[in-house]
């Protein structure tokens, strides 16, 4: 401390010296032989009467070589670059050389803090002090892995003497550029034991680190949020599985998507709505990746659960602004889910039993340290839940619901540098809500991922796979017995590279996707059925993208990440395209010609340039300002005339008539920590505009429509808002409260009335919900018992309702308001849970967690669907169907063995 005070005092006293013609301008041209720098200074002092103040040992190893520099000033700059030595002038003929002690002080402080917190400290030295070369910085590369599974720990937070921060990349790697000296490196990852390295570094080197999972819930649960609030990318959230698993759960099933729905700026249109809306975007604008493969429908059981078993998930990254260039194809957000590798060391498992589902996960080595396997299965027991639904709505009593999902992951390490993983995934759902109609849908995925480390700075990841999503709607009414099938098959090839050099983190790569759409086959399923066989032509397309991005940290304060993504989309034959008379609305009556495209013949090509930019300025160690901008093209559109995703929705690729949507989003955020990061606040305004959004014409026929272009219209959309949040990160009670104000509008103004919606005037999007508030908390009752909960509120979504009625041809016709001019009642819900954890002994046979939760504590009747029923005369009345009209208690038990 004393050293530091002296340094600043001296600096203050003499900071104003900068005049022309000083001793620093003294020419060195005349010195022709090499000599120690101390000798040189003595000679200059003698010659000119100048005075130099320094400690000899600081500069005794420096040697002056003639011809290197012209003046003394240049010589000092050259020698001191990259060191902790500085010089300043007391007067034109007096130079003081000082040593900046900040690095050592910070190191000392960080180590003392770690000792105080009883953290394990490992000393590590790279190179010898004698290796140390003046003016040269050293590079420390490294990789962080899980001690058990050996899988890379993505996003591990690294602090360098609490002064400089970084995180590991997708392969668990990091790179630091340091001035030779001593540092305290702290590695933290949620629910893992912190690692502190007391590092002395004098040469380039590697640090490979293994981290160990802490078997209990610790306050570190929120470490990452706490630490990263100010430093992580704008609009980015890393969900932790621990967080997901300890939240109140519907039917006792922890759920990733339900957790995403509690984040700022994220909402859903109603109870159990499939999908989620991000910053005024529609549900199809969310890219959901499961080990790199796209997932088109992530729902189980009407939408009460999502189809990912949290036990098999390693981490979940969610981006809603400043989306990196490696992601594209969806306009609003990215939810990137990575699954766990099985353990390479020993077999273990996890079993969970809930109210309607149970799950089992087993993982372990097939060949120790080389090959591992992870398998997980989750399924419903029965239909008892739906059959226990008490309702006056007769149709519901005939309902049923069932689903399963299963996953297999095989991982093999060819060497320390190369790992190959196979992921197989399958999910299936079936439900009947009303009458004779059964909805079934399924996802299947098979992919291979190869991770390879080319050298210490360059790593690559290669993914190849196929995923398929399809649904069937079965009608079992005897006269109309039929089946409608729909399927999307996507094949994916990806190559991504991460390159770390000095202050640069460069990502670049190539992605290729081939889509095959089977837009619908409708066939009778009994000989007496009236149904007519209809089969729609298949649609084919390719989406190709190149991307590059560079995250460059100028210094500890400024980080800028610029990126560029260049997508190309080609739809190709075989296909028939209807041509319409020029200048007239697209209408079946105006079909002039049909053009036939041969197999592989391009029908339409779209090309885009997507700049991505994010910027972070650490105002001080506790606060930052971040800016994010992204442009994204979206080539696949979800065509729906209902508000939530229903299993009958159609994905339509861009093509001859449908232009790709493209979204531009800009967001600016302010983030601040208080009281040693105990509290955090943030505010993030955003504006997003989307071109070429698709909306349906009134009374559009979407299923089995060969000329869908006549029933859809393209227009523009925009949304804006501000997300605010406050969080408490440590202590017995932790939690966060976020509030978002946002609006989302659409405008479809075509040349004629039939090509416009709402007479061409702007109207609120179906998911425009101005006020969204979420509160989550976790209260530690004792070391093993927790009380957790969440409360969510959002404005009711807009609807179009009947405002009067008129008689026409002996029937009563409802007269509806303009599109989306009214709102359904507000949505709010409180869920609570009590978590009982097993004992915390490190050596034990197993570990269990009981979760008792109550979903919808005060029995709010939130609507699942809205419909209008006429009473035979008068104006049809609006009704809402609430599937859960009461509190739903549930219990689940999870056991790790």
């Amino acid at each position: 401390m004393l050293l530091r005070k002296i340094f600043w005092l001296v600096l203050l006293c003499f900071a104003s010296i900068a005049r022309a013609q000083t001793i620093l301008d003294a020419p060195l041209d005349s010195i022709t032989e090499s000599k120690p720098f101390t000798t040189l200074l003595d000679e200059i002092a003698l010659k000119s009467g100048a005075r130099f103040f320094f400690r000899k040992e600081w500069i005794q190893d420096l040697n002056y070589e003639p011809g290197q520099v012209k003046t003394l000033g240049e010589a000092l700059n050259l020698f001191f670059r990259g060191t902790d030595l500085r010089h300043f002038m007391m007067d034109p003929f007096a130079v003081v050389i000082v040593k900046d002690p900040t690095g050592e002080i910070l190191h000392e402080k960080a180590i003392q803090e770690a000792v105080r917190q009883q953290k394990k400290i490992v000393s590590y030295q790279i190179g010898q002090p004698r290796d140390f070369k003046r003016g040269q910085q050293v590079k420390v590369n490294g990789r962080v892995t899980d001690v058990k599974t050996k899988s890379p720990m993505v996003g591990t937070y690294i602090s360098v003497s609490n002064d400089q921060f970084t995180t590991t990349n997708n392969d668990g790697r990091f790179s630091l550029t340091l001035t030779p000296g001593v540092y305290a490196l702290s590695f933290s990852f949620i629910n893992y034991e912190d690692k502190i390295i007391d590092l002395s570094v004098y040469a380039n080197g590697d640090i490979n680190l293994e981290m160990e999972e802490v078997p209990i819930l610790l306050d570190e649960l929120v470490v990452r949020d706490r630490a990263e609030l100010t430093t992580q990318g704008i609009g980015f959230t890393q969900l932790t599985m621990q967080d997901v698993k300890h939240a109140p759960a519907t039917f006792g099933q922890p759920d990733i998507i339900k957790r995403v729905q509690m984040l700022p700026g994220v909402t859903t249109v109603g109870e159990a709505a499939l999908g989620f809306n991000v910053r005024g975007g529609s549900v199809d604008q969310n890219l959901i990746l499961h080990d790199g493969m796209p997932i088109f429908n992530s729902a189980h059981a009407f939408g009460f659960l999502s189809s990912f078993n949290p036990e098999s998930v390693r981490d979940v990254s969610f981006y809603r602004g400043g989306i990196p260039a490696m992601y594209g194809g969806r306009a609003s957000s990215v939810l990137d889910i990575s699954t766990k590798d099985g353990s390479y060391e020993k077999w273990s498992g996890n079993a969970g039993i809930g109210m309607i589902t149970s799950n089992l996960l087993l993982d372990g080595p097939i060949q120790k340290d080389k090959t591992s396997m992870m398998v997980s299965v989750r399924s419903t027991y029965s239909n008892w839940l739906v059959h226990s639904v008490k309702t006056d709505y007769a149709d519901l009593s005939k309902s049923n619901v069932s689903f399963y999902d299963a996953m297999l992951k095989l991982t093999h390490k060819f060497s320390d540098r190369t790992k190959v993983a196979f992921t197989g995934y399958s999910s299936q759902d079936s439900f009947r809500l009303t009458g004779d109609t059964t909805y079934q849908w399924s996802n299947a995925q098979a992919s291979v991922t190869v991770d390879h480390q080319f050298n210490s700075s360059l790593a690559g990841q290669f993914v190849g796979g196929v995923s398929s999503y399809g649904y069937q709607i079965k009608d079992s009414d005897s006269l109309t017995q039929s089946q409608l099938s729909y399927r999307i098959t996507s094949s994916v090839l990806k190559a991504g590279f991460h390159y770390l050099k000095d202050r640069h983190k460069i990502n670049f790569g190539w992605q290729l996707m081939h889509y095959q759409f089977d837009p619908g086959t409708f066939k009778p399923t009994s000989p007496i059925s009236n149904a007519k066989y209809v089969s729609m032509d298949k649609q084919y397309s390719i989406e190709n993208a190149f991307y590059v991005s560079d995250a460059y940290s100028f210094n500890e304060k400024f980080l800028i990440e610029g990126g560029l993504r260049i997508p190309t989309f080609i739809s190709f034959g075989p296909a028939s395209v209807y041509k319409y008379k020029a200048g007239l609305p697209l209408d079946v009556l105006n079909i002039q010609d049909t053009v036939r495209y041969k197999t592989g013949q391009p029908i339409k090509t779209y090309f885009g340039i997507e700049p991505r930019l994010s910027f972070r300025w650490m105002i001080d160690p506790n606060s930052s300002i971040k800016i994010g901008y992204n442009r994204i093209y979206q080539f696949l559109h979800l065509i729906s005339n209902t508000t939530a995703v229903t299993p009958t929705d159609i994905w339509q690729p861009s093509g001859y008539y449908f232009k790709p949507q493209h979204a531009d989003q800009i967001s600016i955020g302010y983030f601040r920590d208080f009281r040693e990061k105990k509290y955090g606040i943030s505010a993030e305004p955003f504006y997003k505009s989307i071109k070429n959004i698709l909306d349906f014409k009134d009374a559009a026929q979407l299923i089995l429509n060969r000329h869908l272009e006549t029933d859809l219209l393209q227009g523009k959309g925009w949304s804006y808002g501000i997300e605010t949040s406050i969080s408490k990160n440590t202590g017995r009670i932790t939690g966060s409260l976020n509030y978002t104000f946002s609006r989302s509008f659409r405008q479809v103004a075509g040349p004629t009335a039939s090509e416009s919606i709402n007479n061409g005037n702007p109207y609120p999007a179906s998911f425009d919900q101005p006020h969204i508030m979420n509160l989550t908390w976790r209260y530690k009752i004792t070391r093993r018992y927790y009380f957790t909960g969440n409360f969510t509120y959002h404005t009711g979504r807009p609807v179009t309702i009947p405002v009067s009625a008129f008689a026409f041809e002996n029937t009563t016709i409802a007269y509806f308001s303009g599109r989306n001019q009214y709102r359904i009642p507000d949505y709010h819900r409180l869920d609570i849970a009590v978590v009982f954890e097993g004992n915390h002994r490190r050596k034990k046979r197993g570990e269990g967690i009981w979760i008792l939760s109550i979903y919808n504590v005060y029995g709010r009747k939130n609507p699942y669907s809205i419909f209008f029923k006429g009473t035979g005369s008068g104006v049809p009345q609006a009704y809402q169907l609430s599937i859960l009209g009461s509190a739903l208690p549930s219990i689940s038990y999870n056991f790790r063995f």
């Binding site: 007769a394 007519k532 179009t800 359904i824 419909f867």
Partner: protein, 373 residues
């Protein structure tokens, strides 16, 4: 053992769970606005007269479908040849032409309406297209059991479908209007008035019977013809049936479902007449009926798509008054078929006697349809 214990705990807790799904009415705060003006009228290829009805819409709070007619309007019919003809009001809110203009294929027609306070409305000209005809009306008996809260009930009905010629025009916008008509006989002369302890014979005057004043009021005597004993009941379609493109093969529609006929003692006390009008539509009329159909069909679905504002082809000329409705031109080919009690595979019991005027029956008229045989 432990697993079994856990299952047992879960089972016990499950028993406590009460999941309730419910359907509730939502009340919206809808500002009171002036009623809409509703116009309904058509011109056909048959000789006139043609009729236009004008009424006011029903307010949000109203629970009746009673038409509030708008009287004393001046309405004119125009064709694309420069001819025009006035409508005259025949009943409150019902206006008819005199027959000077007759609808012809290939021509277009529109109307102009003026209210007594000078507000003018016009319809978009609508072209009268040719239409094919229904070639075959088919019926198929069906029995189903409906599961109601109070128990299962039998439901017997005929599914009616048609084959039709699509006509020569490339325009395939066709509507099939289904109307079912059956005859009902009631006994208004048996009408009685109930008091606390006893009942009195009170034959309705329209029955043509009266109670003899003498003899303590127990005997009836006929004084004239019954004018309210025989009615024809109309079953109107609730949803318009429109041509769907996928059903056209070689300019023919095949097996188009157009309606159902409920089988009960009343509908088949005599015979049941099915009237199918095959009507040509212009694009705008098709759009109107298609919206109407979407609204009616969506009405029973839980995944109801958002409904559309149906406005039609009438626009205000000199005001901002809101108007809905359609004046359309159509060629109409009518096909009549009778279903007889012998078409039903079982014996339908005779109906119970109704001691009231037949006019109390919904959609009834004492006027025999001209085409009833």
């Amino acid at each position: 053992m432990k697993g079994r214990k856990i299952f047992s705990v879960i089972k016990k807790i499950s028993m406590l769970v009460l999941v309730t799904a419910c359907v509730d009415k939502i009340d919206f705060d809808i500002p009171n606005t002036d009623p809409l003006i509703v116009v309904e009228g058509m011109i056909t290829s048959d000789p006139g007269p043609y009729t236009v009805r004008v009424s006011r819409s029903i307010g949000f709070d109203s629970d009746s479908s009673f038409r509030d007619p708008i009287e004393a309007m001046k309405i004119k019919l125009f064709d694309d040849q420069g001819n025009q003809e006035d409508f005259t009001e025949t009943k409150p809110g019902v206006y008819s032409t005199g027959g000077a203009i007759a609808g012809a294929v290939g021509h277009s027609y529109h109307i102009r309406l003026e209210t007594s306070d000078g507000k003018i409305f016009e319809s978009q000209p609508d072209t009268l297209h040719a239409v094919g005809e229904v070639t075959n009306v088919k019926h198929a008996y069906q029995h189903e059991v409906l599961h109601k809260n109070y128990g299962d009930i039998d439901n017997n009905f005929f599914n009616i479908s048609i084959d039709a010629d699509a006509g020569t025009e490339s325009n395939n916008y066709v509507r099939w209007k289904f109307t079912g008509i059956y005859k009902m006989v009631t006994r208004p002369e048996l009408h009685e008035t109930f008091l606390t302890a006893s009942s009195y014979k009170t034959p309705l005057p329209c029955s043509g019977w009266e109670v003899l004043p003498a003899l303590g009021g127990g005997l009836l005597s006929q004084f004239g013809e019954c004018t309210c004993c025989v009615c024809w009941i109309y079953d109107y379609e609730s949803t318009p049936h429109l041509s769907d493109e996928q059903l056209v093969v070689n300019h023919a529609f095949k097996d188009v479902p157009v309606g159902t006929v409920s089988i009960n003692s009343y509908t088949f006390s005599d015979k049941y007449l099915i009237r199918i009008d095959q009507m040509s539509l212009s694009k705008s009329a098709f759009r109107f009926f298609n919206l109407l159909r979407a609204q009616r069909e969506g009405a029973s679905s839980l995944f109801q798509p958002p409904s559309a504002q149906i406005t039609g082809n009438i626009t205000p000329i000199n005001s901002n008054e809101k108007v809905v409705g359609l004046f359309w031109a159509s060629s109409v080919n009518t096909k009549l078929t009778y279903l007889l009690p012998s078409d039903i595979p079982y014996l339908v019991p005779p109906p119970e006697e109704i001691d009231d005027t037949c006019r109390v029956l919904h959609n009834s008229t004492t006027e025999q349809p001209s085409f009833w045989q």
